[in-house]
């Protein structure tokens, strides 16, 4: 009775060892992959920070003001340009629109 038991035990031990070895190998591989990914992640993260800093640097209000003055035909908005809806003239009716289109009305 002991012999078959021994044989089974031996087989189990070998199988377990092989399984363990395989598992360890896989874990090592995954770990290496993780380290590599993490390094990429850190690099991307650093690049992101540099870009954020650069974005903030390039968007300095003083610099934008300078550029807007040089390249845009726009000036800062003033209070007189802001109105409320009820201050708008009454909407013209269809008839008035026709008159307008014909150029009779100023």
């Amino acid at each position: 009775m002991t012999r078959p038991l021994n044989v089974i035990g031996l087989v189990l031990v070998i199988a377990a060892a092989a399984g363990l070895f395989q598992l360890k190998h896989e874990v090592q591989q995954l770990e290496a992959e993780l380290v590599a990914l993490d390094r990429v992640l850190v690099e991307e993260y650093e690049a992101l920070r540099v870009l954020q800093a650069e974005w903030s640097y390039l968007n300095r209000p003083e610099r934008l003001t300078r550029f807007a003055a040089a390249h845009l035909e726009l000036v800062p908005i003033t209070a007189s340009q802001i109105g409320r809806v009820h201050e708008l003239p009454e909407p013209l009716g269809a008839a008035a629109a026709v008159v307008l289109a014909s150029g009779d009305e100023s």
Partner: protein
């Protein structure tokens, strides 16, 4: 177990059975013991591996746990614009013994890093040492350029460097840190522990500042400093409801990225650390205290015909009217005599208590270490009461003054000054310092100063501005100096429902042609406030009012040549 052979030998038939039973019993005992132990072990094993997952991390992160943290949290403005961040800054070093051609290496390095001198490079690279610093803190682009040269014997060491992308714009608030990332000034210093706490590194610190408003204020103040050849300036923009500072500027300022090259004067925060005798802006507090205590009302007034002489002092008006003045007149013509008499009526004790409740007698609770301690006389004599009534004999920081005025116009409740963004919901109204009625009257009076008094130049079309001018002579060792002024203006808009307070203060402005030689607050600081309001009003979404719109408010009768009946 002892053998009881003599006893059991007496029984027949049991002689050969006994040892076996004993043996079996012992065997069972030992077996049971072992089984028991193994049961415990396996139960513990199951317990540890399956049931108690929380005790230890179920997944280890061997090797993969590269620190992503930068060591110090970012600082951003209220809209998330980056004000301070930490970047990886590689530093370039050389190992001269392994270099092939020192001359050529130096030439090519000097080409990509123009700030390095070729001759100095050759000298460094000629050394026998195996480690020579060439340049600390390279930009990524420079590092790439150096790498592309492919010169053997060059290497990089990673360092961390604090970067302030907005440069001088927020220098006095954000402060700066040293090369080891230790906070040395401003927010960087006050929140050093929080910024460098490992679990906080990913959470940026959100300030109440708005870089757009900050930029407008700084630019307008710079223009004024130049126009009036002032030695410095300070300004704040404050949300009167929450106490948040949207802008805080002190000129001259400095580039926190290059702190070593800046002067101590540039690093001095005039807005929060400097304490000044503010002059007439203090009349706001005198009038508010008197109105709130009921010692005088808007129809009352004081005789301002003759200067007051107390001991060796003479209190006189800058623009004497030589007659009886009503309370609104005292305020808008900025009568020192009237204010002094008003304060005497109120009494020194009540005046002091009032200023204390406004927070003018203790340092501001603002979150930067550079918060100036106010100076006031001890004991508080009658002469002090009189001079403090018009802002002399007491020195406070501009931001303290701004917070106190905010309290007077927002309905009367104290707002603790803060540089941290507050959520609208979390705003708790502080202690009620003056009644709502007093606050309403103060708004009316402040508006009168701009429509018909000393602060006309602060008017900004579309945004009804109310405010008060202040001009004080700077004290020196030999009394006050007539030529050295602190000129200020504190303005509030829209005055009907105040949202923001804008304050500008110029340190020693000199009058020029456009001001007819005057350098007072109404001529120098008030226009700055007017221009700032015109520019930030649309940014902050304050609805403008039309010129024709009525200005509702209490009726204030103003006798005199300049004004008659002001409906407001």
């Amino acid at each position: 177990m002892t053998r009881r052979r003599p006893a059991s030998a007496a029984r027949p038939g049991s002689d050969d059975k006994l040892p076996i039973q004993v043996g079996r019993r012992r065997l069972l005992t030992v077996l049971g013991l072992f089984v028991f132990c193994f049961m415990i072990l396996s139960a513990r094993l199951v317990d540890l591996s399956l049931l108690r997952a929380g005790g230890e991390p179920s997944v280890t992160r061997a090797g993969g746990d590269t620190p992503r943290a930068t060591g110090r949290a970012d600082i951003v403005d209220r809209n998330g614009v980056l004000l301070a961040t930490t970047l990886r800054a590689p530093s370039l070093y050389a190992n001269p013994p392994v270099m092939l051609d020192v001359e050529e290496a130096a030439t090519r390095l000097a080409q990509v890093l123009p700030e390095l001198d070729r001759a100095a490079l050759v000298r460094k690279l000629a050394s026998e040492r195996s480690f020579v610093w060439l340049k600390r803190g390279l930009t990524p682009r420079q590092q790439y350029a150096v790498n592309r040269l492919g010169i053997p014997g060059l290497g990089f060491l990673d360092e961390r460097r604090r970067i302030y992308p907005q440069a001088a714009l927020t220098s006095h608030v954000v402060g700066f840190s040293d090369i080891d990332n230790g906070g040395l000034a401003g927010i960087e210093r006050r929140f050093h522990d929080m910024l460098s706490a490992p679990d906080q590194v990913d959470h940026p610190l959100v300030l109440s500042l708005d870089v757009r408003v900050q930029s407008v204020l700084r630019q307008e103040l710079s223009v004024a400093v130049e126009d009036f050849r002032a030695i410095g300036a300070a300004g704040v923009v404050l949300d009167v409801r929450t106490g948040e500072f949207l802008a805080m500027v002190s000129l001259p300022d400095f580039d926190p990225n290059r702190v070593a090259t800046t002067s101590t004067d540039a690093r001095f925060n005039r807005a929060s650390l400097g304490v000044y005798e503010m002059g007439s802006t203090f009349k706001t507090f005198t009038v508010a205290a008197a109105l709130d205590a009921g010692t005088v009302d808007l129809t009352g007034g004081y005789d301002a015909t003759n200067p007051i002489r107390v001991a060796r002092f003479t209190i006189d008006d800058d623009h004497p009217k030589k007659r009886w003045l009503s309370v609104p007149e005292i305020f808008i013509y900025s009568s020192n005599i009237g204010a002094a008499k008003m304060a005497l009526d109120l009494g020194g004790e009540r005046q002091k208590a009032f200023l204390k409740r406004l927070g003018l007698l203790s340092p501001s609770p603002v979150e930067i270490p550079e918060s100036g301690t106010p100076m006031w006389p001890q004991p508080w004599r009658d002469i002090s009461t009189m001079t403090i009534a018009f802002g002399h004999g007491i020195a406070v920081s501009p931001l303290q003054l701004a917070s106190a005025v905010a309290t007077l116009v927002n309905g009367g409740y104290a707002v603790p000054a803060t540089l941290m963004r507050r959520e609208a919901a979390s705003v708790v109204s502080g202690e009620q310092v003056v009644g709502r009625a007093t606050s309403d009257m103060m708004r009316a009076l402040l508006r009168l100063v701009v429509t018909g008094g000393t602060g006309r130049q602060a008017e900004s079309p579309g945004y009804q501005v109310g405010g008060k001018t202040g001009t004080a002579e700077k004290a020196s060792a030999r009394g006050y100096r007539r030529s050295a002024l602190i000129s200020s203006f504190v303005g509030v808009f829209p005055i009907n429902e105040p949202r923001y307070l804008v304050m500008a203060l110029l340190d020693e402005p000199k009058g020029n042609k456009s001001t007819h030689g005057f350098a007072g607050g109404g001529w120098t600081a008030a226009p700055v406030v007017g221009r700032v309001i015109a520019r930030i009003g649309p940014i902050l979404g304050v609805a403008p009012v039309n010129a024709g719109d009525a200005e509702p408010g209490p009726l204030v009768e103003v006798a005199g040549a300049e004004a008659n009946l002001a409906t407001f």
